[in-house]
């Protein structure tokens, strides 16, 4: 699927601002950003792309079982990630590494999941409301809707104070749009008029299945049937991603009900490191997205505004430093103790956990060199 007449784009592929009816209402959000904030958009996109490459390399070198790249989707994620206010809650799918980083999650926590150390393990309450990754496709949309229902029951939204009113954003993809849970989340969100934004990254591929198999109509039209306004944006335009998400989150927090954003982007790499896109994807299609790269166009625009080589060199260095740091710390990760298996299966005491942990300890102690 390509851009439509309705696609909101603020920054063209050439790195120039786009004037027009679809864009005009969103420019005030961009004008309100400081130069430092704009530089931060670029910094996060560049740094996470370098992190992504490093993590994929670590997988190839046998240090991770798997890596889930976000290559090409940096603008959709950075823009929407910065659009969320501090009090907002973010429910990711499993590819939103840069949103995690924006909310303060150490990227090594994500690495740990793919290295077989944890199933998640950060606490959303102490990590700026960034919730855990969910690997069953689309399940998190219902958790987000339930959370938003709770916010509403608490009266913690729609008071008219945008600095305090809470909204929820949930990430999912074009593949997830076919899941029943996503439809049920849309139903519940519409019924209870939850303060939330559904943020669909249409990267055109659910592993090997093209988006045309998931939907014969543009996905931003789907929420209309549920009574939820939908908008399509150029997901490779970080300005559009920021402004449209900001506007929609603020609408949701004001009590106007749920919103839906389809961010058109492209998965420039594989689904995961276990995947081989050459088996199902025409290289011409991939090449057609190269000129739409989110980072290139934003750099062009920043340079046109006077940003100099020094800044770009500085973030290139920062990206290299982060990659080196992630590599060093990944190699230093120690395996979890076997007791981790039994901890936190239940919150209250449970007899089987104690019995089986004791049995395992005795079993291991029975071997030569074990401690009886």
């Amino acid at each position: 699927m390509s851009y439509t007449a309705a696609t909101v784009q603020l920054l063209s592929e050439k790195g120039t601002l786009v004037e027009g009816d679809a864009a005009d209402e969103y420019f005030p959000y961009i004008e309100a950003l400081s130069d430092e904030q704009l530089r931060e958009f670029h910094r996060q996109m560049v740094v996470i792309r370098r992190f992504d490459i490093e993590a994929a390399n670590l997988q190839r070198q046998g240090q991770l079982a798997l890596w889930i790249p976000s290559l090409g989707q940096e603008a959709a994620q950075v823009g929407s990630g910065f659009a969320a206010r501090p009090q907002d809650h973010i429910f990711p799918a499993y590819r939103e590494h840069v949103v995690a980083r924006i909310r303060g999650i150490d990227p090594v926590k994500i690495i740990e999941m793919l290295r077989g150390i944890s199933h998640g393990g950060w606490d959303p309450k102490t990590n700026n409301n960034f919730h855990l990754y969910t690997l069953v496709i689309g399940s998190q949309t219902l958790h987000a809707t339930g959370y938003a229902m709770g916010v509403q029951l608490d009266g913690a939204t729609a008071t008219g104070d945008a600095e305090k009113d809470i909204a929820v954003i949930v990430y999912f993809g074009d593949g997830a749009s076919s899941q029943g849970d996503v439809s049920e989340a849309l139903v519940f969100a519409a019924s209870y008029q939850t303060p939330q934004v559904f943020f669909l990254q249409n990267n055109h591929w659910a592993i090997s299945i093209p988006v045309e198999t998931q939907s014969r109509t543009p996905l931003y039209l789907r929420p209309g049937g549920f009574g939820i306004p939908g908008v399509q944006i150029d997901g490779n335009d970080v300005l559009a991603s920021y402004a449209v998400t900001r506007a929609n989150l603020d609408a949701a927090r004001s009590g106007a009900g749920p919103r839906f954003i389809e961010a058109l982007t492209f998965r420039m790499g594989a689904h995961t490191t276990s995947d081989d896109p050459t088996k199902y994807q025409e290289s011409a299609l991939l090449q057609s997205w190269v000129p739409k790269d989110p980072i290139t166009r934003f750099e062009t625009w920043l340079r046109s505004r006077g940003e100099g080589d020094e800044f770009f060199a500085e973030i290139a260095t920062e990206a290299e430093d982060l990659a080196a740091d992630v590599r060093r710390r990944t190699l230093a990760i120690v395996d979890p103790p076997v007791t981790k298996m039994f901890e936190h299966v239940y919150t209250d005491p449970h007899p089987l956990m104690g019995e089986q942990q004791a049995w395992l300890a005795a079993y291991e102690a029975a071997f030569e060199g074990g401690q009886a």
Binding site: G121, G146, G150, D154, E184, F188, E343, T347, D348
Partner: protein, 326 residues
């Protein structure tokens, strides 16, 4: 002491009401539970008392009910979900087993998920397909969940409150066939913990073990057996996960014989699990193999055949005779 004669459905209603009065974070969600009071009227009057913000008539979507309950639990609520009928739990199965059951573990203990899922279950109501099933074993098999089932109005009143007060997800199976008979409920005090099994009739020769709708059948069988000169001990399991084995093993050490009864199909079932564990723990006390009396390994049949499918006192007594024949 305050004892009332109540139906199990009414006892649940009062238990839910008490839990909601005790903790404002307790909310009820489900299909038709508000104005209608649920198809079995278990939540009757609660929306009128507590309002639509605490008793939510949800859209008709079981995965949606459980999935949003998970999000509400993350926000600090204690949702109690009603699944309208046993056979309708499966659209919510993924959210229960892949999400709810694992989320405390995924959070490494920083977030509890005190979600109770109430499920009317079992046969003897003459209903159509999907309305008479016993799916408890699926959930007992899933780490992270707790599974309980009351057999009496007194237990129903207390167990629903204890399930709600606990910090883990609980599948709360309610025996439909026992919703309406009345029994004494002491609303002032309770003497037994949620995950305890209990001897409900003492005996010396054969132990009969069951839960939920089967307990009454076992008591009837024990009465008949007594008339024929056989002394049966009856145990109400109450908690399917975890299982409280101490009273069961103690009983088998005394009687040497165990018959387990359930409405669910017998293959890979709660009865299978208990048979294996009791064989491990009481092997030298057993005078006969542990025997199971269960629903057949068929889909629940059309209602005119349900009395053949569902274990009754006669089928229990046949197993008692077999156990005594070794």
């Amino acid at each position: 002491m305050s004892v009332e004669s109540l139906s199990l459905a009414k006892a649940l209603n009062l238990g839910l009401q008490k839990a909601m009065l005790d903790d404002e974070k307790v909310i009820l969600m489900g299909e038709d539970i508000g104005k209608l009071g649920g198809v079995f009227r278990v939540t009757e009057g609660l929306q009128a008392e507590f309002g639509t913000k605490r008793v939510l008539d949800t859209p008709l979507a079981e995965s949606g009910i459980v999935g949003t309950a998970i999000g509400l639990a993350m926000r600090g609520y204690r949702p109690v979900c009603e699944i309208q009928f046993d056979g309708f739990i499966f659209p919510g199965f993924d959210q229960i087993t892949s999400q709810l059951a694992k989320l405390t573990n995924r959070h490494e203990g920083t977030q509890a998920f005190p979600v109770v899922i109430r499920v009317p279950y079992g046969g003897h109501i003459g209903a159509v397909e999907h309305h008479q099933e016993s799916p408890e074993a699926y959930f007992a098999h899933t780490p992270g969940l707790r599974v309980v089932t009351p057999s009496t109005p007194h237990d129903a009143y207390w167990m629903i409150q204890e399930a709600i007060a606990g910090n883990d997800p609980v599948l709360f199976f309610e025996p439909k066939s026992r919703y309406w008979p009345k029994g004494d409920v002491d609303t002032s005090t309770n003497s037994i913990a949620l995950h305890s099994s209990r001897v409900v009739r003492e005996g010396t020769e054969v132990t009969l073990l069951g839960y939920g709708p089967m307990v009454n059948v076992l008591l009837a069988a024990a009465e008949i057996a007594a008339g024929e000169g056989t002394s049966c001990e009856v145990i109400d399991l109450r908690s399917i996960s975890p299982i409280d084995y101490a009273p069961i093993v103690a009983s088998v050490q005394k009687t040497g014989r165990l018959v387990i009864a359930q409405e669910a199909p017998g293959f890979v079932s709660v009865g299978s699990e208990i048979a294996a564990t009791v064989t491990e723990r009481a092997f030298y006390s057993l005078e006969a193999p542990v025997l199971r009396v269960a629903g057949f390994d068929t889909p629940f049949p059309p209602a005119k055949l349900e009395t053949v499918y569902l274990p009754d006192a006669d089928r229990v007594l046949e197993a008692v005779d077999r156990a005594l024949s070794y």
